[in-house]
């Protein structure tokens, strides 16, 4: 596949360098991500793997959503995808309950990514996967 070359690296790299983003920066990036996800949803596609690593920055400094390796087509408003997939820290609760995920999962992940922009690590972050999953299921932030 020949894709756009994004010279600005990914947001995980920038976040790692800066620790956290200023509110203004976070607002700018997340707004572009929301537009991208809403466009993806308009095609009846769910993305399922939203995280800073997958948000690239092009040469003009704008976000580019990349890596549709886990995306799924033909998911309308009421459809669910059954596979368990994604990156542990950003998994939505319904994925952990194996209920199947819908477009709402991407919206949860937008929230998780925004949290990481402002706080420096994803919600409920811990090295212990079991503890992480339990927190995602039931803990307060």
């Amino acid at each position: 596949m020949i894709l756009d070359y994004c010279s600005g690296c990914d947001l995980a790299y920038h976040l790692n360098k800066k620790q956290i983003f200023e509110e203004e920066e976070a607002k700018f990036f997340i707004a572009e991500v929301i537009l991208a996800i809403s466009y993806i949803h308009s095609l009846d596609v769910i993305y399922r793997d939203l995280k800073p690593e997958n948000i690239l920055i092009d040469k003009d400094g704008h976000c580019r959503l990349a890596d549709f390796g886990l995306a799924k087509e033909n998911i309308g408003e009421k459809d669910f995808a059954k596979s368990f997939c994604g990156s542990p820290a950003y998994l939505p609760p319904e994925m952990l309950y194996s209920k199947g995920v819908s477009k709402a999962a991407d919206i949860y992940q937008i929230g998780a990514v925004l949290y990481e922009f402002l706080v420096g690590f994803p919600p409920y972050y811990t090295e212990n996967i079991k503890e992480l999953y339990n927190s995602i299921r039931s803990a307060r932030l």
Partner: protein
Amino acid sequence: MSGNTVTPPDRQGDAPASRALLSSDGKSDNAPSVAAGTEEPKTKFQQDLIRMKEMQGRAELPPDEIEPMRKAQVALLDDGALLGIGFKSFDILEVLGHGAFGKVFKCKLKGKEEEFAMKVLKKAFLYRNKHLKYAITECNILKQADHPYVIKMHYSF
């Protein structure tokens, strides 16, 4: 593609890492031929780069014919391979990253300045791990997608 992505059960597997890369010239399974006397490359990235360059011959299309071909191809949502745009039409410049299912290279259409990213997936590896459908889905979605904040796919082969 990052290493810490959880995959559904049918995507995991311990098939031996395949060297078969996305190439139609049938050379992909050959061991890289390092000429006698040349110094052994130091990093894996450098080795990959050399191997990719060795796999390339000459472009089949003259560069000034590629752009019209591209336009037709975009209109038809067709595969690059059908129009003679393939692996050999590009100069590989550097390795940008690699994941479980393949690698990403920075590349350039021969004779042009514009830079692209080339995502190369190991077809045989995907096939063996029943992961091919995810690659096809990715390709289909990217073909449809046309949005300023979504990565654009120019060719696929």
